[in-house]
Symmetry: C2
Subunit: 272 residues, 2 copies
C-alpha cells in the first residue's frame, strides 16, 4: 500500500486506528477454545467487528510463532482474511546481516504478503535496507519504544549530548524515505514524540502504548501530528479483551468505535 493510499483511507474512514492482533489463548473467550483454530476464529470475529473503524491491523508475530507450524497457519489465515484496503503490519522486530534480512523481508512481504514489518535497528544499514527493496512495502523502524526498557539504551546521550534514538532517526531516514519507512514511537513518551517529529517531519509513526500502557491519544496528536496526520495509533488489549464473554466481538466493536469517534473529532478539527 502506498503512502497516498494510506492517507486516503485515513480520510475516508476518519480513523488512524491500528488494531494489534496480539491474540492470546489465555485471554480469549473460553468457548472459542473448542474450535479447530481458536486464534483464527477469534481474529476473524475481531476483524469483522472492527474493520469499519480502523485503517491497520498489526499481528505481533511472537503470539503466533510460539505455536510453530500451527501458529503460522493461523497467522496466514488471519492475513488473508483482512480486507485488502486495510494496511497490514507484521510486528516482528526482525533485523540481521544483509542477506539474512532479505530472507526476513521475503517472509513478511512475499510468503505472507504484509504491507510492512517492524525492524530492530541495532545491526545498522545492511540489516534495514533489504526491507526497502520491495515496491509498495514498508520498513517500520524501532525508534523510541513504549516499554520501560526503552530507557536502558535508547536515551543514552552521545558525545554531542543527543539521545541514541535520534541517531537512529537521522541515519535510517537517509536510507529510506517517508514513502517506504515509518517509525515506532511510543505513546508513553509524549513530549519526546515532538522531538522525533522535528527530525522526521513527513514520516508516519506507528504509536503503541495508548490505553493499557498509559499513553494519551490527545498528547500523541499534540506532539506527533503532521499535515497528513502521520500517525497510526495502535490499541491491542483494550479492544481485543474488552470482554472475555460470548459478547467479546460486540464489546471490541464498541471499544474500537469509541476510539474512532475520538479520532474523527481530531481529524475534523485538524481539517483532514
Amino acid at each position: 500500500m502506498t503512502r497516498h493510499e494510506l492517507i486516503e483511507q485515513i480520510r475516508a474512514k476518519k480513523s488512524f486506528l491500528c488494531v494489534g492482533l496480539d491474540t492470546d489463548l489465555n485471554k480469549i473467550p473460553k468457548h472459542l477454545l473448542e474450535t479447530e483454530d481458536p486464534i483464527f476464529e477469534f481474529n476473524k470475529a475481531i476483524i469483522d467487528a472492527t474493520k469499519d473503524f480502523c485503517v491497520a491491523y498489526k499481528p505481533n508475530i511472537a503470539f503466533y510463532e510460539q505455536y510453530g507450524e500451527k501458529g503460522w497457519a493461523s497467522l496466514e489465515k488471519t492475513l488473508n482474511y483482512i480486507p485488502k484496503n486495510i494496511f497490514t503490519i507484521a510486528d516482528a522486530k526482525r533485523g540481521d546481516i544483509g542477506n539474512t534480512s532479505t530472507y526476513y523481508a521475503k517472509t513478511f512481504f512475499e510468503y505472507l504478503p504484509f504491507d510492512s514489518v517492524t525492524i530492530a535497528p541495532y545491526m545498522g544499514e545492511d540489516s534495514v535496507t533489504p526491507f526497502l527493496d520491495f515496491p509498495g512495502k514498508w520498513a517500520i523502524v524501532l525508534a523510541l519504544t513504549s516499554n520501560k526498557g526503552a530507557m536502558d539504551f535508547q536515551i543514552i546521550k552521545d558525545e554531542n549530548g543527543e539521545e541514541f534514538f535520534k541517531s537512529v532517526l537521522r541515519k535510517t531516514s537517509t536510507w529510506g524515505n517517508p514513502e517506504n519507512m515509518m517509525y515506532v514511537v511510543g505513546a508513553t513518551r509524549a513530549e519526546q514524540i515532538g522531538e522525533v517529529r522535528a527530525i522526521v517531519p513527513d514520516s508516519f509513526f506507528l504509536v503503541p502504548g495508548v490505553g493499557a500502557q498509559g499513553g494519551s491519544l490527545e498528547d500523541v496528536c499534540q506532539y506527533g501530528w503532521n499535515k497528513d496526520c502521520g500517525l497510526l495509533v495502535n490499541s491491542s488489549r483494550a479492544i481485543l479483551y474488552a470482554s472475555n464473554g460470548e459478547n467479546f466481538a460486540q464489546k471490541a466493536r464498541e471499544e474500537a468505535q469509541k476510539v474512532q469517534t475520538e479520532m474523527a473529532n481530531i481529524l475534523i478539527e485538524k481539517g483532514l
Copy 2:
C-alpha cells in the same frame, strides 16, 4: 545445557566450532531438491558429517521462516536430529516488550527446545530478561556484530567517550550472568574483542565472521580467550557449501575437521 557441560564438550571434542545451519535452497546440491524436504535432507547430511568436530549448531531462523509452515517443519526436524550433547542456538535475533519476549522465549525454549537464542538488545531490560527465566537456557545478546552496519550504531560514543556496545555489555551483564548469558562478538573486529573480554571476562562469546567474512581464528583466540576457552566460533558457508556436488557432505566434513584440528592445537597450547 549448563556452562559446565558446554566446557566439558569443548575439552572432550577438542573443538569450539559452531556450525551455522544457514541452509539455502539456492546453494545446496541440485540433486537434493528432488527430495520431499530438501532443507532437512541437507541438514541431516551436514550434521552426520560434522557432528564429531563441532560443539554447537546454529540454524539462522530467517532461512527457515521464509518458507512458513514448511520451513518450521524443516527446522523442527533438524533440531530433533541434532545429538543431545551438542549445544543448539536459535539465531533469531528476537526482542520485544516483556510479555511478548516471553512468548519468543517459549517458542525457542519450549516449542522448539533449543539451548539458546540470540537477542537484539535495543528495547532494553524487559526485552532481554524473559529469556533468562528458563533453567539451563541461554540468552545470547548482540554486542558487536560482524557486519558492515555494525559501525552505524554500535560504536557511537556516549558522553563519556565509550562506545554503545560497551553500554550494552555493562548493563546486560547485570541482568544475567555467565551461566545464562553469552554475547555475539564479530570476528571481523579482532582488537575490539579484547575490549569486550575486559568487560565480561567470564562470558562465552558466539563469534561469527571467521572465514567467508574475513575474520581470523588466531586473532579471535588472541583477544577473546578466557580460562574456559569462552568462545564458540561459528562457520556457516565455508563448511555448508564446501562443495555443491554429490560429495558435499564429505567436503563439509573435511572443512569442519580442518577447523577442528586448528582448534585442537590452540586448546592444547592453552592447556585445556
